[in-house]
Symmetry: D2
Subunit: 337 residues, 4 copies
């Protein structure tokens, strides 16, 4: 960390900064130029509070040299994390596809979809039992009944189940039924919830907030990791921009950036990113070409009857074709599907 003093900072001001920094357990290395004085901070700079120092008299700016995340960083943990869910390995050579309906609506709908995605080659079954909806008047999911149906679908197909949890006290119940627990985009900075899933051992699929930076996503992963759960997958699902044509704007560069900065597996959600079923195919191809470790894709047997997100769900037939189309892309980047 570097502290840049103002042009006319006095010796007293510099001395006050030195004292404060030393109280925080670090040391100062002084570099006095003709026009400005720069203080290099030596020691465990994570102990230094930027805002406190930044407000001191005579201080112009602070520059952090090191990134604020640690457990999620590749620097700290160079080797790729590979997460096991039953026999499936996420983050290894194989591209993993999670698929199923946005919301569990009925036994019939779920079993039909589960069998279809299994048959098309999906590796995990996704489905929402608790649905966060912007309107209090919209369908909010089947709740625990939905979880039971997901467990039943797992029995039927052998596919492990991914489902979302929305509040800390629900974590034990959801964990009882699910194999992978999803934190949704609106909860990426719900710190109580992050802490709660940090205390279990289930793999967590952490979705990027639709208006969160890459660094904030890694800081949220840090909450889970620092509570003891090392099984975190990062999910890019589109960010909010001024472009109205798609529901969100998929930040495709985030895939290689996350792979550079972190050792955690990276999953892409082309369904929520685009909001349009006919863009799911090209965007899925692009995601794998960019280095994603997996995809999470919405499939519904009759999208026009879906109680949530019908516009972005693929029909089983289209999903099957997509799985076939993705295979050569995976191979072109040296991976399997």
């Amino acid at each position: 960390m570097i502290i840049i003093m103002k042009h006319k900072a006095s010796e007293n001001q510099i001395e006050a900064v030195r004292i404060r920094i030393e109280k925080m357990g670090c040391k100062i290395h002084l570099s006095q130029g003709e026009e400005q004085t720069i203080l290099g901070v030596i020691g465990d700079v994570r102990l230094v509070d930027d805002e406190q120092i930044g407000r001191m008299d005579g201080v112009d700016r602070l520059v952090r040299i090191l990134r604020p995340f640690k457990l999620s960083s590749r620097e700290f943990h160079p080797k790729d994390t590979v997460i096991k869910v039953g026999k499936i390995k996420i983050g290894g050579n194989q591209i993993v596809v999670m698929s199923g309906p946005c919301a569990v609506e009925s036994r019939e709908q779920l079993m039909e979809t589960a069998l279809a995605v299994k048959n098309a080659g999906a590796h995990l079954l996704r489905g929402g039992a608790f649905k966060p909806r912007s309107s209090p008047y919209s369908f909010q999911g089947l709740g625990e009944e939905g979880l039971r149906l997901l467990a039943e679908a797992r029995e039927l197909t052998g596919l492990p189940v991914v489902t979302e949890v929305m509040e800390p006290q629900m974590v034990p119940m959801v964990a009882e039924y699910a194999d992978v627990i999803q934190i949704g985009t609106r909860n990426m900075q719900n710190y109580s919830l992050l802490q709660a899933v940090g205390k279990i051992k289930h793999p967590i699929l952490l979705k990027r907030g639709m208006m969160s930076t890459i660094e904030e996503l890694l800081m949220s992963a840090e909450y889970i990791l620092s509570n003891g759960n090392e099984n975190v997958m990062l999910c890019e699902r589109g960010i909010r921009t001024f472009e109205p044509y798609t529901r969100n704007t998929l930040d495709i560069s985030a895939v290689p950036v996350l792979k550079q900065l972190s050792h955690l597996p990276v999953i892409v959600d082309p369904s929520h990113a685009t909001g349009k079923w006919d863009l799911v195919d090209p965007v899925s191809r692009a995601s794998i070409a960019a280095g994603a470790d997996g995809l999470i894709i919405e499939v519904h047997p009759r999208p026009e009857e879906a109680m949530s997100d019908g516009a972005q769900s693929l029909k089983p037939e289209k999903f099957k074709n997509l799985m076939i189309a993705l295979k050569p892309i995976a191979e072109a980047v040296g991976r399997s599907l």
Copy 2:
């Protein structure tokens, strides 16, 4: 609601839409032009699921004529809601100022600040006991001890207390100490939390998500109102944009827009919107001139020692000057301070 059919929609497709709409409890009024067919939906269109209909064969687009919120809308409730907190009325002629430290750090810091803001003319005392922080390594607040200190500061100054709640199961405890309960920007779409505060009677200060539209803010208010709590204040606190100079970009137009669309009081948070103490003064003036019913402003006796948000906190002296400067602006728009 209007359903616009595709250019070449068949009669069978139109018929299928009609049947689906009637199942949902509404009726169709057909308008067949040379180039396109338009279906007007008559009845309680809130029962119609846009996504289901939008995915049907032959359907091009849906257009909703009515807004999706109701209890929070001025159309439904033309008269301004005025919320009473002790003797203070929020949403009436008087501009209300809530002030205090970002986080409660110690008894000394809180009492000193509380007395200073009381002395400067603030109407409520704000202070965080539970702090949502992007880093798990940052100070997270004093917890229940912070709540106790806030209650003590209320005793000392007579100022009602505003403080944040972060998870549903904490609502009863926070409600025991606080007069007004704040939902923070990262929790605006934490629906479990919205439902929980909808079931109590305390006034709620609902902060706009930094990533949320005005309509989404009103939909989140709708969650609280539809659970039975009518005492909701809306808080504009800046949105995330590409401009890096300020922490967020205050959406000043949101103030008159919210006053047009809704009957709920509108509060502005210039401290979080700008992130810089020297912008708090001009932005506070602008907010009152634009029609805000109140302000929430961070004050700290020694900002350079603040454990959170020091860069945007005013010193008590500056806050006092601001209160004096705001008076003529309030009068210029026909209000008092």
Copy 3:
């Protein structure tokens, strides 16, 4: 086009709208519901001015059924446009790669780069002679001398040349030297310039404004096409968002969206989109997988000495490896490179 009248619109107001619409050369089809009246506009609705009608008393909203662009739309022109530049076909089965330095700096630098990209398999040579720079104190390009060097490099390598034009009166001079003329991101809505390049026959590479929607890009293409030049390529080069890690955010979904909405070839610029050379490879792969017809990539023999955009330029060796890596991706989507 549909005109939605307000809830309580009077018959006189409806009649006034009818008269205005008929003056504009269209007709009205009235659909009177219980709660609202809807007017369908029949005829050439491009003659109707939305803003005029939208401001009339009693009018709530207008909804356009047809898109505002025509010559650039696939509806109007279903077959892909294939643009010939010498023997190169852009928009056909082959992926086309344009490569070279950001700015022409010297004969030595340009010839060295031109030979290197030719050798690696690039199809066109890019290079800026006039450089738009945000600071008046930065290097602004070699001007006409740069154009002469580009022509010389074409002689040397046989590669057609792409270069940018910045003002209408420079179009004839740039057209004399260049094979393809680029309109930069800051000039996407410089309508005088669009009209000027609409009057020549050279292929135009139209870059999306960093602040522009997909629809606005197509409207700007419409300016060129409606002036008589049918040889327009659209270039996605990243949009401005709140994410600071990359220079811009590549809107990968824009690739398939543009291919759906328009018949014009789509090129991606991974260098400007990311601003970081080590992201150019994964983002290039993703672009081809998403369906792009070509790439424009910055290469510099010594990026650390580049006078512009060194941070995002590939060294020739890296570019060569990229070209090899892209081949199997192109084949996986049924194309050649």
Copy 4:
């Protein structure tokens, strides 16, 4: 300027940076810590090319201490610039209001509006003769005929005239008729145009690009100032965000920020910022309260017939009321109107 070397930078790499910096005419001050080496650059750091240095082996990052603009900065020129247009002073104690139609449509429309805004107390007359429109099929303005009508309206009312120029070669013609020349939002980075208006002496109203940062706006002002024209006004007119309710999002904080960073007068355009006439009043009040030196407001006698931007134009009666309402706000911030 500070150069932060990578953790493991070698002595050779540090030496290479030193040599390069010295070639650029600056010197290096070395500060070698245990974990990192920091190089302070001494001398005229504007000569140093960030990108070149940033790409050198062993370099981690560069941090500029000084801002990249100079002539427009308050540091360089502490006293407020006051621009005279006839008897009007812009940037002094008086708030200046520029008003008139978006586009000049006819003699009748312009004279009627000019008299009305003069009568209501406006200080300058605005009106577009050349209109940048996103569609090539929309009304593009009356051209030189529009300029002649503006000059005639000046004769009639005594109000100086503000109008836009769109291309470099039109500058002399527009300058012949206009008193103040406007650079529109889409041309803020049209550097040829900025240079052209930098060579005349007319006051320039430079509008912020709808997706440009505050720093970029000041850099564009720098283009004009460095070409010799010191009469530049900065105009905040809203930026593009994800919020769809208003046409743009007025960045109200930009007003005090620009006043802090620069000595140039700051004007706000509430009409384009909001796109809705009924928001012009509250947003105008807010702008003055925030410290703006003036406003530019669209007025049309019959907005429902306006050929451009009718939705955001005030009727003369409303404009008159607004001028009355603004007076006490101006006084509340110690200014006159």
